[in-house]
């Protein structure tokens, strides 16, 4: 019923918005626990443009809202009807519900915890309304991904991943589902393996934007090595592409050139967008990632963002080296993340240590924080095969960090790890994740996703899109990659600096990347949450954070258990190797006895049965 109401109201939204903007008076001033009755149907509070209403338990209904520039901060807010935060406004609510038209406008910022936005509630372009429960409720646009092959092609999964950058919901279905009305609720259709004419017919029939990926010839013949897009040229590894036949009136969005001939790579004809290449090619993936902004009509501010992560920091890392890295980045005014492994667990006791027993490292980390660093938890050793044990270890890691006053703002881990930790019995929740990929066959490691992604409950995922520096040769390839990523208007240039690499390698990379025109991402200014069974951490997104210890006993127990585990594992390790040596010595001794006994066999005393 609520979905139906929302669908009914959706077309009215623009009109309502205009009326609301024009008709709301300037508020007389701030109010505390506002219950001012203003001209309104039910005498409920409102704040006009520039005003500020801070209310606890506030309710604004039907037309009551915070106007442009206004600021409404509510605790457990309920804004229903047409309640919204106008352009530039800021509505911050915990457990907020904005229904039917409630939204944060362009540039506005609505941060909600456990938000439910229904009806037409959304965050406008540039806004940031991460909200849970983005679903097929008629509020968020629905994107239907269709395929013709028996199994979903790789491009479908890649597309699902790219779409999490946008405020849409995506679902994948076989093309045969069209007969069951699968496309009825779709606001956008993305079609893999489509015949151009069939795609055109579907686009006309549904009258919704339709992106069709044409089948690419599988003879391996490259069609081009250069892509022209938005007045720029991007060299590409050989691209195989299908021929796109476009009619008059159609627009070529991207072209592919082989040096002599040029042909359309992506073209648009009204609602129909035709893509002649495969998403498995990385540059094509990035190109489509950018085109999706226009396809979905979702505005994002243009400009590449940078994020540097110092990786492989553990109790065994040289603290002085970390200080030098902090000085290097701080000197270039580049904020950065530090992925810390608070407890190094290793087979060999000499490589086992805890940050709680490394005061020098703790000092170095504080130094890094002052230089613009944000601590994140290194989850690279999470075992996907054993999420329960991984969650327990992660909880102990957080407890170890807490011991030195460190609080991780995000998790640095492979794709899917954060979800498995959140689902474990010893639940560990991270709203924000820095995602890296596994090493490829060529020794590089980088994510194929070119921009930040939305996660549930207001979280974000930041891919390490460029990779990690491993040597001078790698620096140049990283920079080339960063350059190619600019094909995406709001690309995230995610770079890793391995703390075990020489300082010169890091200096070389930082020195060059600092010259790039990038907006540097400072994780301290992005809202975040971390929850465990004993600790709740949250960053407000303004550089401050809260830490609430919900179970001190459990925290102490985890710290104690980690120390005991380290001692126990050391004892086990040394005693088992001692046993090996002793047993091996006895085996050698016994083999000597056997040889001696055999050499003396003829005169051995203990013989066979006596002869009769």
């Amino acid at each position: 019923m609520r979905a139906d109401v929302a669908r009914f109201l959706k077309p009215l939204f623009p009109a309502v918005l205009v009326v609301a903007v024009c008709c709301t008076p300037i508020a007389p001033g701030p109010a505390d626990a506002a219950e001012r009755t203003a001209p309104g149907e039910d005498g409920l509070p409102e704040t006009g443009t520039g005003a500020r209403a801070e209310a606890e338990g506030a309710r604004t209904v039907a037309g009551k809202h915070a106007e442009n520039g206004a600021r409404a901060e509510v605790d457990v807010a309920q804004t229903v009807g047409d309640g919204h935060a106008g352009t530039g406004a800021r509505a911050k609510a915990e457990d907020a519900r904005t229904a039917a038209g409630g939204h944060a406008e362009y540039g506005a910022r609505a941060e909600v915890d456990v938000a439910q936005t229904v009806g037409d509630g959304h965050a406008g372009s540039g806004g940031a309304t991460p909200a849970e429960s983005l679903g097929r409720d008629g509020l968020t646009p629905d994107v239907l991904i269709l395929y013709h092959s028996p199994e979903p092609p790789p491009g479908a999964a890649i597309m699902e991943s790219l779409l999490t950058h946008f405020r849409v919901t995506a679902r994948t279905a076989h093309a045969s589902a069209l007969d069951d009305g699968a496309a009825n609720d779709a606001d956008f259709i993305i079609h893999f393996g489509a015949d151009p004419e069939a795609a055109a017919a579907l686009a006309r029939a549904r009258n919704v934007p339709h992106m069709a990926f044409l089948p690419v010839p599988d003879d391996g013949t490259p069609a081009g090595i250069l892509i022209r897009y938005r007045n720029a040229e991007y060299p590409a590894a050989a691209v195989s592409a299908a021929r796109i036949g476009i009619g008059t009136g159609a627009e070529t969005i991207a072209r592919l050139s082989d040096g002599r001939d040029e042909r359309p790579l992506i073209a648009r004809d009204g609602n129909l967008w035709l893509v002649g290449a495969d998403l498995t090619h990385e540059l094509i993936r990035w190109l489509v990632a950018d085109v999706l902004h226009d396809f979905l009509g979702e505005w994002h501010p243009e400009g590449a963002y940078g994020l540097i992560v110092i990786e492989n920091v553990s109790p065994l890392t040289d603290p002085d080296h970390l200080r030098r890295l902090a000085d290097l980045l701080g000197g270039h005014r580049i904020p950065f993340a530090v992925a810390v492994e608070p407890v190094r667990r290793s087979q060999a006791p000499s490589e086992r240590a805890s940050i709680a027993g490394s005061p020098d490292l703790a000092d170095a980390l504080r130094y890094m924080a002052e230089a613009g660093g944000t601590l994140v938890l290194d989850g690279s050793r999470i075992d996907p095969e054993d999420p329960e044990e991984s969650a327990r270890r992660t909880a102990r890691d957080i407890a170890a960090l807490q011991e030195i006053g460190g609080h991780p703002a995000a998790l640095y881990a492979a794709d899917g790890m954060a979800e498995s930790l959140a689902a474990a019995d010893e639940r560990v929740f991270f709203s924000n994740v820095i995602a890296y990929s596994a090493f490829r066959t060529d020794g590089t490691r980088h994510s194929g996703v070119p921009y930040a992604l939305l996660r549930g409950a207001g979280g974000r995922a930041f891919p390490e899109s460029v990779g990690a520096a491993g040597g001078d040769a790698a620096v140049s390839s990283l920079l080339a990659r960063a350059g190619a990523l600019r094909i995406v208007r709001d690309a995230l240039i995610g770079v890793g600096l391995d703390a075990s690499q020489p300082y010169e390698t890091a200096a070389g990379l930082v020195g060059q990347i600092a010259r790039e025109p990038l907006y540097w991402t400072d994780l301290r200014y992005i809202a975040w949450r971390v929850e465990t069974g004993f600790l709740r951490l949250s960053g407000r997104g303004d550089g401050t954070m809260d830490a609430v210890i919900t179970d001190r006993g459990r925290l102490e127990e985890l710290r104690k258990r980690e120390r005991q585990t380290i001692r126990f594992e050391s004892v086990t390790y040394y005693s088992s190797w001692t046993l090996v040596l002793v047993v091996a010595a006895f085996i050698a001794l016994f083999m000597l006895f056997i040889v001696i006994a055999q050499m003396r066999r003829n005169r051995r005393l203990f013989m066979e049965r006596e002869l009769e």
């Binding site: 046993l579 006994a597 002869l611």
Partner: protein, 408 residues
């Protein structure tokens, strides 16, 4: 346990070297008069298949004729055991026949031996099972070992398997008996001065036996029971491997299971009965041995079961061992150690270190040796059941088989 057995095997090998040197330098030979009188007791119940071979071997014993008597305690046999015994009694004056009739008959080996003890005239008592064929010098060696040390209350010789080559089971048992005697018997004697009476091929002073009140008729394993009582009295039990006898072992799994269950039940009974001694700390040597047996039959059992379970769960990916350490290497070394330890024992016996025995041994670790677990569970269950329903133990003799032809 691993370390303890390595230690024992080292002692066993060193003891064998000591025996070699002793034999190479024998002492002054005794005259016939200097040998004490000996009564050899042979309890026999339905032993017609084997008794003839046994008595032939007894008549070949190298011991002064007037100083030895061989008493066949025929215990109410329903076969021709009695007639064969009478035949030998008539043939040789050294052989005496004692026919037990109800109500003093068929009450087990301990009862039969007690009856034989009453009739014995010798200063020393030597016991042989009815399927044993000792080497001719066996009795002399047992007596010699007892005379050398007055603190020795009993001497036990070594037993070998006469039907070792019959089938795979007897090969397993052969390897088992050799390694048990050189590791557990010889090793314990070398390091701690203790060993256990094996039930056959052993000697004990008659006066001592009378002082002890003879054999415990209630015990399923009267040999272990006697060993503990001897230690309680402050005497030693010497293992003297020069005194060798050859005995039959089960040739079928059913007979083997019955025999071993009786042994395990008997030993468990003895351990539980004597466990309070550990707390009272009397007789350090036997306390140590009791602890060892307690660990073997109870604690080690739990450890082995847990270890097998962990290995199985690990193989099925249900459990993942996160402790640091070379556990796979330890498992492999344990297996190699087992092989090498037993090979030392086989190498001590002149003709037992063969390729065939090596492969039998390699197979034994994962087959025959694991049956011990089943034996202990089975006997524990039977013990508990007997305790609950107050069942009386019945001594069941081991089935005999036709002996192999003696080598010529």
């Amino acid at each position: 346990m691993l370390l303890y057995h390595m230690f024992l095997m080292l002692g066993g090998y060193l003891y064998s070297e000591r025996m070699e040197r002793l034999r190479a330098q024998p002492g002054r030979p005794r005259t016939d008069d200097e040998w004490p009188t000996v009564s050899v007791l042979i309890p026999a119940h339905n032993e017609e298949i084997v008794i003839r071979y046994t008595l032939d071997a007894m008549l070949r014993l190298d011991y002064p004729r007037d100083k030895i008597e061989i008493i066949v305690i025929e215990d109410n046999s329903r076969d021709g055991t009695g007639e064969i015994a009478d035949e030998y009694c008539a043939r040789d004056s050294r052989v005496r026949c004692l026919h037990l009739k109800p109500p003093n008959a068929a009450k087990g080996k301990s009862n039969a031996l007690n009856q034989g003890l009453k009739a014995a005239r010798g200063e020393y008592i030597v016991v042989y099972d009815a399927d044993n064929t000792p080497n001719s010098a066996a009795v002399k060696y047992l007596v010699e070992a007892a005379l050398e040390d007055p603190a020795v209350g009993a001497v036990t010789g070594k037993f070998r398997v006469i039907n070792a080559k019959k089938n795979l089971l007897t090969r397993f048992i052969n390897i088992e008996t050799i390694s048990f005697q050189w590791m557990a018997q010889a090793g314990r004697w070398f390091w701690f001065g203790i060993s256990t009476i094996p039930g056959t091929n052993f000697l004990i002073r008659k006066s001592l036996l009378q002082e002890m009140g003879g054999w415990d008729v209630k015990a399923l394993t009267e040999d272990t029971e006697m060993s503990i009582r001897l230690y309680e009295m402050g005497y030693k039990i010497r293992f003297f491997p020069l005194a060798v006898t050859w005995e039959q072992e089960p040739e079928t799994w059913k007979v083997w299971l019955k025999q071993r269950t009786r042994w395990v039940r008997g030993n468990q009974y003895v351990i539980v009965k004597n466990l309070p001694r550990i707390l009272r700390r009397r007789q350090g040597r036997i306390v140590f041995d009791l602890i060892y047996f307690f660990f073997t039959y109870f604690v080690f059992l739990v450890g082995v079961v847990l270890s097998h379970l962990l290995m199985l769960l690990n193989l099925l990916d249900l459990v993942y061992i996160t402790l640091p350490g070379p556990f796979l290497l330890i498992w492999l070394l344990a297996y190699i150690l087992f092989i090498v330890e037993v090979m030392v024992a086989l190498a001590i016996e002149k003709t037992e270190l063969t390729v065939r025995n090596f492969f039998t041994l390699a197979l034994m670790y994962v087959t025959y040796s694991q049956l011990w677990l089943y034996l202990i569970f089975r006997s524990t269950w039977l013990q508990l059941r007997a305790a609950i329903i107050r069942e009386e133990w019945k001594w069941e003799k081991t089935q005999r088989f036709q002996p192999p032809a003696a080598p010529r």
